[in-house]
């Protein structure tokens, strides 16, 4: 009964605190602006200090009750509490002296007035920080930079999704902002320290913080996802965790709560992927081989090896490192294939169609590590043996062989090409059964063999 009454009075603190603020400011204003003071003015001022003291005393008392219920953190509370008490004491002292007709000199009046205002400001500010959250004042300054994203992933890191980790880059900043005022290595409220991964998992007095793979048994997830009026809801003051932060936490624990869980794993869960894209501005789309590839541009001298009247070439990217090369004559020679070796690292698309290419010539193409599209169609002398020679091209995604002499035997070589996505076999000796068999084994490779 008594504790309930005390709780109730404690909740009146935010109301009562405004009384001494108003009264003391009015009292000081009267003191400052009424130059010719007669006796009744002096009595009003004395009375003003009394009411400042009295309402301040009530506010401090109720505040003490409120601070005792454990929702507030000592380091924040301390300054507020003691500056408040100092303010009330000052009011009492001034009133007492005035009541005893002590004559304040002009300068000492100024000094006590100023001290009262300073104490009031300090008390008020720290009180505000407790209810509105830290930085509430700075945040809303008209010219201050406002944070839009709830987590601070710098813009240039957003594109490097593959090097981001859920805990370090997405969750830890949230903990820092929302929880670590009370749960850090110095102040371990409830025995919980959230400043490092190990002790976060370990948890506090109530049990384990994280149960890997089981968010609904993990106290940290439970506490932040309680209804806001639940007595154990966290954080007790300030802005609660947002929906996306809670969802990210849940997804992280669900997936094993590893310290090094990569953000890119979100690709497996469309809901989380979308959330990451919208909330954190991350681009999680699967990248093709070329998008992840970084190459040095070929040297000017090596490009000279590609004779102007035989090769047509252009760069495929602004970094000028990916080459798209077409042979423009009807019959390719050994020397031409050798000159291609000069830029072998940079060749990404290569068109040698209709150039009288032979099986032996294909051996020169094995050493093109970054080749993704190869067009060698309309070379009737190419057979399965030639394809065998290039089966090691692991980044090759498109291979055009229409109008060549390949048969079903070539499927064995196609199976070895790990990156293969599209295969063009129109006008070859490949049979429909051969294609069916291959498709059954490699359903992701699209085989185009003429019109259905």
């Amino acid at each position: 009964m008594l504790s309930e009454l005390i709780d109730f009075l404690g909740s009146l603190h935010p109301l009562i605190v405004h009384l001494p603020i108003g009264i003391v400011l009015l009292t000081i204003a009267i003191d400052v602006f009424m130059r010719n003071k007669n006796n009744s003015v002096h009595r009003i001022i004395t009375l003003g200090w009394f009411f400042s003291f009295f309402s301040g005393l009530l506010a401090a008392l109720f505040g003490w009750f409120l601070g005792d219920n454990g929702y507030y953190f000592e380091s924040q509370l301390g300054v507020h509490r003691w500056s408040g008490i100092a303010f009330v004491s000052l009011c009492f002292l001034i009133w007492l002296l005035k009541f005893l007709n002590f004559r304040f000199s002009k300068s000492s009046t100024r000094f006590v007035n100023l001290t009262a205002i300073v104490l009031l400001t300090i008390t008020g500010h720290f009180g505000g920080e407790m209810t509105h959250g830290q930085n509430y004042l700075v945040e809303n300054l008209p010219f201050a930079k406002k944070k839009i994203s709830t987590t601070s992933i710098e813009k240039d890191r957003r594109s490097e999704v593959d090097s981001l980790f859920v805990y370090e880059d997405l969750l830890q900043p949230v903990f820092e902002q929302k929880c670590m005022a009370c749960h850090n290595s110095k102040n371990t409220y409830g025995g919980l320290n959230m400043s490092d991964f190990k002790s976060l998992v370990k948890g506090g007095n109530s049990g384990a913080g994280i149960q890997k793979g089981n968010p609904y048994e993990s106290l940290i997830y439970k506490r932040v996802s309680f209804p806001h009026d639940h007595p154990k809801f966290m954080p007790p003051a300030g802005v609660p965790l947002s929906y996306d932060q809670i969802a990210t936490l849940e997804w992280w624990i669900d997936n094993g709560a590893k310290k090094q869980l990569p953000v890119s794993l979100a690709r497996k869960d469309p809901k989380i992927q979308r959330l990451m894209e919208v909330q954190y501005g991350l681009d999680l789309r699967e990248k093709s081989f070329l998008e992840t590839l970084k190459l040095d541009p070929p040297s000017k001298t090596s490009l000279k090896a590609l004779e102007e009247d035989k090769f047509m070439w252009r760069f495929l990217n602004p970094e000028e490192s990916f080459l798209d090369i077409t042979y423009t004559r009807n019959t390719i020679e050994k020397n031409d294939l050798i000159s291609l070796q000069q830029v072998k690292n940079n060749i990404t698309w290569l068109n040698l169609s209709n150039t009288n290419l032979k099986d032996d010539d294909l051996g020169y193409l094995v050493e093109l590590p970054h080749l993704t599209r190869l067009k060698i169609q309309k070379n009737s002398r190419i057979t399965d043996n030639g394809i065998k020679a290039i089966k090691g091209l692991e980044n090759l995604s498109q291979l055009n062989l229409y109008g060549t002499g390949v048969t079903d035997a070539a499927f064995e070589s196609f199976s070895m090409m790990k990156g293969l996505k599209k295969l063009f076999l129109w006008n070859t000796r490949v049979t429909p059964t051969g294609i069916e068999k291959f498709k059954a084994l490699h359903p992701k490779v699209e085989v185009v063999a003429g019109l259905r």
Partner: protein
């Protein structure tokens, strides 16, 4: 041959360049000549610095290397071909609800009508393929390949008449004078085959309807080697390309070499970059003397290819024959191949006329896409099919149970694309149940152009050309890439 290197040599200036780029104009010029007469023009370092900020193209790895644009001039009726609106059949003959047209602008051809009766299509619609795309019976061949296609049913434009609308879709502006899409690509990406122009135009012969002007494939303010070259059907694909009787190839070569010497002297003297353009045009023409007859020769195509494109394809100058040629030009790495097929402007007698038009275009369009596919060329070729705007849901003129006409309608129309860079078997955007206004994902002409350039590896905001004191681009100050259609 390095084909990215297509910009002017740093030392060449037009009169305008000369006057503007000598920094302080003629004052600086005279000052410069006092100090060092050699440096005033041509070799001056500071002149070169002004031009040194060259753009690097492509801006990112392209999806497509070339485009075949099957332009249906006159504006085909989306309501009779692609955009199925059963509501119009249900309410056949009733007035278009006031709430649908509102205060919108109509053309002078139908705005005076007392009545705007809704005309449901007389043609049957069915769903096709796994994508379930609705297609009218007018396009049986295209219906078979809908799973290869990407429809945009929510295209719109501001222009309400043919010439501004065509100029808009080809050049990004309703006013004539800007470079055509193909010219921009030629300027930006250069050539992939130095024996043929980068931009070739094929017009179906013997068609009537809205006129076509060569400025639709004009280079505008870009250097003139970027203009589209029209290949005609019949004996001379390119006019005046052949040597006159009695002039052998050797004589012609000698003549051109001498001419080049003279022009180089003139260029050294005057420094006008258009002289270099002229030289390159002569050289291109000379190379085209052998390359053009070669590419226009379809005699070695097997019968089953002609069967695929349809009987018309044996008859040079038809849409089908042009589609076949388009494939051959694409095989030769021509960057932008534009076909024009006129006669879609059916203000009256639409059911009769559209049947004929569809018959002329349907089979060959589908055949081209299939033919490119089996050759693996859909991987780096983008095919586009569409007109300059749409047609109204109400009848222009008297609505009869078996006859109606449709007026111009810029507020919605349908195009389709296939090939490199676009998703297969999808349909983007939607119109209301009356087929009049767009209800979902409007795509403006500039958005379409931005998307086209994106697929070719160009950021449409970065490919610019400075002319008359400001930088121009195809999409002017508009356009957003339509991400939804990108594969």
């Amino acid at each position: 041959m390095h084909c990215n290197d297509h910009h002017h040599d740093n030392k060449n200036y037009s009169r305008r360049d000369f006057l503007t780029k000598t920094s302080l104009g003629l004052g600086a010029l005279s000052l410069g000549s006092l100090i060092s007469p050699v440096n005033t023009y041509g070799n001056s370092e500071f002149l070169n610095l002004l031009e040194s900020d060259k753009m690097k193209l492509p801006h990112f790895v392209p999806k497509a290397k070339r485009v075949i644009y099957l332009f249906q001039s006159g504006a085909p009726s989306q309501l009779d071909l692609f955009d199925y609106k059963p509501k119009l059949n249900e309410m056949f003959g009733q007035e278009v609800p006031k709430s649908i047209i509102g205060e919108q602008r109509l053309t002078g051809m139908s705005s005076g009508q007392n009545t705007f009766p809704m005309a449901g299509s007389l043609f049957d619609f069915k769903q096709h393929g796994q994508s379930g795309a609705w297609m009218s019976e007018l396009m049986p061949h295209t219906s078979k390949i809908v799973d290869e296609l990407c429809f945009i049913k929510s295209m719109y434009t501001e222009a309400i008449n043919h010439d501004p609308a065509m100029t808009m879709i080809q050049t990004g502006s309703e006013l004539p004078g800007r470079p055509s899409i193909g010219s921009w690509l030629s300027y930006g990406l250069g050539t992939d085959n130095k024996n043929l122009p980068e931009f070739v135009v094929l017009v179906t012969k013997g068609k009537s309807g809205q006129p076509l002007y060569s400025r639709l494939w004009g280079n505008g303010f870009l250097p003139s080697q970027h203009q589209g070259v029209q290949f005609r059907s019949g004996k001379d694909a390119v006019l005046y390309l052949e040597n006159p009787p009695g002039v052998t190839s050797g004589i012609r070569e000698e003549q051109l070499n001498s001419l080049k010497k003279l022009q180089n002297i003139q260029h050294a003297d005057v420094g006008d970059p258009e002289i270099l353009t002229k030289i390159s045009n002569y050289e291109m023409a000379y190379r085209m003397q052998t390359s053009v007859p070669d590419v226009m020769d379809i005699s070695d195509e097997p019968d089953y290819i002609f069967d695929l494109y349809g009987e018309d394809s044996r008859n040079p100058g038809t849409f089908a024959a042009n589609c076949l040629l388009a494939r051959k030009l694409a095989e030769k790495d021509v960057k932008f191949i534009q076909l024009y097929h006129r006669g879609w402007d059916q203000h009256g007698n639409l059911p009769r006329d559209i049947k004929r038009q569809a018959k002329e275009t349907d089979q060959a369009s589908a055949a081209l896409i299939q033919d490119l596919k089996q050759r693996g060329m859909l991987e780096d070729t983008l095919v586009i099919w569409g007109g300059e705007f749409g047609r109204t849901n109400y009848s222009q003129g008297l609505l009869k149970p078996d006859n109606y006409g449709r007026d111009h309608h810029p507020r919605c129309f349908t195009i389709f694309m296939a090939g490199a860079g676009v998703k297969k078997g999808i349909s983007l955007g939607a119109t209301d149940e009356f087929g009049y206004n767009i209800t979902e994902r409007p795509v403006h002409i500039h958005d379409f152009q931005a998307t086209l350039m994106h697929i070719l590896g160009i950021d449409h905001e970065k490919l610019t050309f400075k002319f008359q004191g400001r930088r121009y681009r195809l999409t002017d100050v508009h356009g957003k890439v339509v991400q939804e259609v990108l594969a």
